[in-house]
């Protein structure tokens, strides 16, 4: 369970670029919740995820994960029990290392990096078995540099890496946005499969309203740093894209093209 309590964040305080993003934001995710997050550009979705991941410090507030206060932990320390997939497929993997080497780094998440061999033969077999079901042919390319893969292949790999050691929390920031529709669907299907298999508590930002409605058990909408809609279960199943759009307009949120297409 993740509890966000009284989060406040202002970027560049005291300058002309001052930007107040959150004023006392609170949110609780129950264990196993798969929450989709929607909202206009600049609503604060990525900032929220980054605060949880520890990319930026916040001004006030508290973060509890399964009862443990993680507010003071650094980003890399929190990463030991979180999975994080970025929008940019290049950010989640290392292009100079092979597919197997990338996986081996993820396999040791939360452990000290020692002077033992970076990858064992047994691991290679494990990775082959892990990659085969993706149907992308990556299991035959274990020793190839990740730099040679396409964006979609890299994103699928990043997702596997983020969940290789079961995370207590999975954070996905528009992780399908940079992919073509077909690849985006493959990555989204994989997301669903992994989240269901391991019962992962997940926050997924998306600009695709249909995906947001179809995916997960709970949906929240953000506008100007506030949560303006939080529905789950039946209410979420009943909701339609036009409901969401209506709510959007009520809040004068700026709609970008992607959403209109949603």
């Amino acid at each position: 369970m993740l509890e966000i309590k009284g989060l406040c964040k202002t970027f560049n305080p005291g300058t002309i670029n001052e930007k107040k993003v959150f004023e006392d934001l609170s949110l609780t995710l129950n264990s196993g919740d798969f929450v989709t997050v929607i909202g206009g550009n600049g609503a604060g979705k990525s900032t929220l995820l980054n605060m949880i991941a520890g990319t930026y410090p916040f001004d006030k507030g508290q973060l509890l994960l399964d009862g443990k206060d993680i507010t003071k932990l650094k980003e890399y320390e929190r990463a030991a029990f979180m999975g994080h997939v970025f929008q940019d497929p290049l950010l989640g993997t290392c292009s100079n290392l092979s597919i197997a080497e990338n996986l081996s780094i993820a396999r040791r998440k939360g452990k000290r990096r020692t002077l033992r061999r970076g990858i064992t033969e047994a691991e290679r077999e494990e990775y082959r078995a892990l990659l085969a079901p993706l149907g992308l042919g990556l299991e035959e390319r274990l020793t190839e540099k990740v730099g040679l893969l396409s964006g979609g292949q890299r994103q699928a790999l990043t997702l596997l890496m983020a969940t290789l050691v079961r995370p207590q929390l999975l954070l996905l920031d528009e992780h399908t946005a940079a992919l073509d529709p077909k690849t985006a669907q493959i990555v989204l299907d994989l997301t669903n499969e992994l989240v269901q298999r391991d019962q992962l508590t997940t926050l997924m930002i998306t600009h695709n309203m249909r995906d947001a409605l179809k995916t997960g058990n709970r949906l929240i909408m953000m506008s100007e740093g506030k949560i303006i809609l939080d529905i789950n279960g039946e209410a979420k199943k009943q909701a339609t894209v036009s409901d969401l759009l209506a709510l959007f307009e009520q809040n004068n949120a700026s709609l970008d093209d992607k959403m209109l297409l949603g």
């Binding site: 081996s104 061999r117 970076g118």
Partner: protein
Amino acid sequence: MSSVLSSAIAQGLLWSILAIGIYVTYRLLNISDLTSEGSFTLGAAVTAFSIVAGVPPILAVLLAALCGALAGTVTGLLHTKMHIPSLLAGILSMTGLYSVNLRVMGKANIPLNQVDTILSNLKDLLHLARDRGAAIPLGILAVALVIGLLVWFFNTEFGYAIVACGNNDHMIIANGVSSDKLKIAGFAIANALIALSGSLVCQYNGYADVQMGIGAIVVGLASVIIGEVFAKDKSFVFVLLSIVLGSVIYRLIVAFVINTSIVSANDMKLFTAVLVALAIWFTDLSQRKGGKKHA
């Protein structure tokens, strides 16, 4: 073998360890680290001081590498903990090291004529006639040790993490490792190698001089760039061996242009700088032609 040729090969081997150090920061960590200018001299200063004080040469060499690692750690801390841009952090260390080196040596130059060095030790061991004759065997031995160690190290969990960090620190942080720690380790390793090179070069030259590090980074870069011509998309061992080859080729070029009086010894640094600038420019041009992305 003519003495010009053998001395170019010997110097190429001994300086190649500097080039490998430069490669670690410049290519693996993606950082241009100017500490090298100071840590190369530091290696020489510590070695000369220790040997004159009676420390066995082999220990003096190890001590030099250790001091280099320390200098690298300082740059790493300036960069990661004090958030000083890497280029500036290196300049600060380099500048500070100039004073440190003078302090260590107590004067601007320490000759090593009347004392045992690692070369004279090795000469005795191999029953050779002259100290200088031991330079090539010493170079081969040192290079083999360094390459062996690095190949082992960069195939460990920690080594993988350093490579990943240099390529993409988002990725390594997202996988639960402190990128600061990895960068500091990278700086330390690189400068340990560079100081080791300084230590060997000063024993080969027969003196340590407070000015000897000037231009070291450009010499190292020249070797790396020449070496990379041979090492396109090859394995790590091959890349390291190519850098050694690059370093030897660089020394042969230097010997050639000086002996044929194409370039005077005083203009050597300018010549090297132009060589490196052109080489980087050409590599960039050919990569653009090849359609490689800029990053």
